[in-house]
């Protein structure tokens, strides 16, 4: 297997981008990644696009071909593949790109992720998001996506004494980080009271516990590590990749306060990289809800089970903490255009490891991690990145 590096990253602004169509977003992110890598489109050998539900958000399937077409690379008839695993679509697309390069099937591959969510009503958007859960046995019985995460939160608070304030602290921290990210959807700091007084969505989760609906796209360019120096002085190697699955329905899990798929994917990625949790300086985790980040930092092994809330409250996941979590602002503040999210996480980690994260730069960041979740944890993709 060949070692693989990221040689270029690109990201659009995230938010309610009324002027931007799906194709405009996709091309925007791709073009900036290609420019960052200093390559030309005729050097691209394959395209992978992470997208959850263009069919329902904009009634457009076949979006990899669409992006290939509008980026001009379809003129060279290169393979273009869409990858779907709900919220983990972006991370999974990255893994497909990684495998394509590592296996020597392709040299230069572009991985993109995009979602255009605001062309449908809020209600429609929330129905589409809940289709990541089990439609027959969760959604039809009244479960919303936020409701399922609220079930995790209620149980986590019951089992481990996690407090409502600790959940709020996740949002407060991620907004603090987001305020430093010019691409973030929300670039203002908030305090606990803003979270605690925001309208209830599904108790105990309130509006400020939930990531927003967003439009946006992100892209990275991959190539074999031994070719990377031709394009950049600061290639970032993808040293580990782990993917795991679990039951689609939350009710079939062994424990609803633990994402078994996060644990398994993390172990696989760490083993591949020959690293341990202690080596990770900066992590982008899937905080689609505040409870998700608490569960994630436990299952990633950064903190013992049940202590994620306390660790957040104590600032251990802040920019200057033991492990800086969601320096981009996370899904909460950077925004969560579903299919783009996993790739956007990679963009942030690459920026951190290159030392180009400006005001939110983690000092001496050497190893970074991304954790991207589909559904309530039925798919998890974990990647490890390292400065070369």
């Amino acid at each position: 297997m060949r070692r693989v590096a990221v040689i270029g990253v690109g990201i659009t602004e995230f938010g309610e981008l009324w002027d931007s169509s799906f194709r405009k977003l996709g091309i925007g992110a791709g073009l900036s990644a290609v420019s960052d890598a200093g390559i030309y489109s005729d050097q691209i050998e394959a395209l992978f696009v992470g997208n959850m539900s263009a069919g329902r958000f904009i009634r457009q399937e076949h979006v990899a071909a669409l992006i290939a077409d509008y980026s001009g690379i379809a003129r060279d008839n290169i393979p273009a593949t869409r990858v779907e695993a709900a919220g983990a679509s972006g991370g999974l697309a990255l893994r497909q790109g990684l495998m394509a390069v590592a296996s020597s099937l392709h040299d230069i591959v572009v991985v993109g992720g995009a979602e255009k969510m605001t062309d449908v009503s809020d209600v429609e958007s929330s129905m589409i998001q809940s289709s990541a859960a089990d439609q027959e046995w969760e959604t039809e019985l009244g479960a919303t996506f936020s409701g399922l995460h609220a079930l995790m939160a209620t149980r986590h608070m019951h089992d481990y004494g996690t407090t409502r304030e600790q959940l709020a602290d996740v949002a407060v921290k991620n907004h603090r980080h987001g305020a430093l990210n010019p691409k973030a959807q929300f670039r203002r700091e908030i305090n606990r009271n803003v979270v605690l007084r925001s309208p209830m969505v599904a108790s105990p989760l309130r509006v400020f516990d939930c990531a927003p609906s967003s439009d946006g796209a992100a892209a990275v360019v991959l190539c074999p590590l031994d070719m990377a120096k031709k394009f950049t002085d600061s290639p970032i190697e993808i040293v580990g990749s782990g993917q795991a699955s679990d039951s689609l329905g939350l009710h079939h899990r062994k424990d609803i306060c633990t994402m078994g798929a996060t644990r398994a994917a993390t172990q696989r990625a760490l083993k591949m990289a020959g690293l341990s949790q202690k080596d990770v300086d900066v992590a982008e985790v899937h905080d689609n809800y505040t409870i998700s980040e608490i569960i994630a930092i436990e299952d990633l092994g950064f903190f013992p089970k049940g202590e994620g809330g306390k660790a957040t409250e104590e600032g251990l996941t802040s920019l200057d903490g033991d492990v800086a979590v969601n320096t981009s602002g996370g899904l909460k503040a950077r925004g969560d255009p579903i299919g783009a999210t996993g790739v956007a996480q990679a963009v942030e980690i690459v920026s951190q490891l290159r030392g180009k994260a400006d005001k939110r730069q983690v000092k001496d960041a050497d190893v970074g991690l991304t954790q991207n979740v589909g559904g309530t944890g039925a798919t998890v993709v974990v990647h490890l990145f390292r400065r070369v």
């Binding site: 209600v123 929330s126 019985l141 009244g142 919303t144 079930l151 209830m200 599904a202 108790s203």
Partner: protein, 143 residues
Amino acid sequence: MASAPRYWRENPSRYNMVGFKCNNCGKFYFPPRIICPLCHRKSVGKTEPVKMKGTGAIFSFTEVHEGMDEHNLQKPYILAMVELDEGAKVTGQVIDCDASDLSIGTKVRATLRKLSEEGSAGVIHYGYKFVPLRENGERPRDE
């Protein structure tokens, strides 16, 4: 998602909580599965549909304020994960009570209610929801 057959084919489980038992390992599952996730191929031919009693205890719950269109008239409504007496966990609404009446461990039983309808002209979907049980077994009522 207007599809009468899609809902119709699940009627036994939606109306009567017909689940699934693996006679290879003895475990109960609800909602029903096609093969036992523990015994895999060894369970083929050794599984049977089994009706759950419909009683259990709340494992976790939430009061849903932002929901889907179908449930607008009931908002806020209570969504729970219920651990059935047979051991399987199931997701469903808890009705005819307030969230303040419930806690983790509250005993509930299944009843049949409308789940959703395909507009005013389409098919009505019926299925299980849960009501809290009082200790003496009578129906729950507000004080």
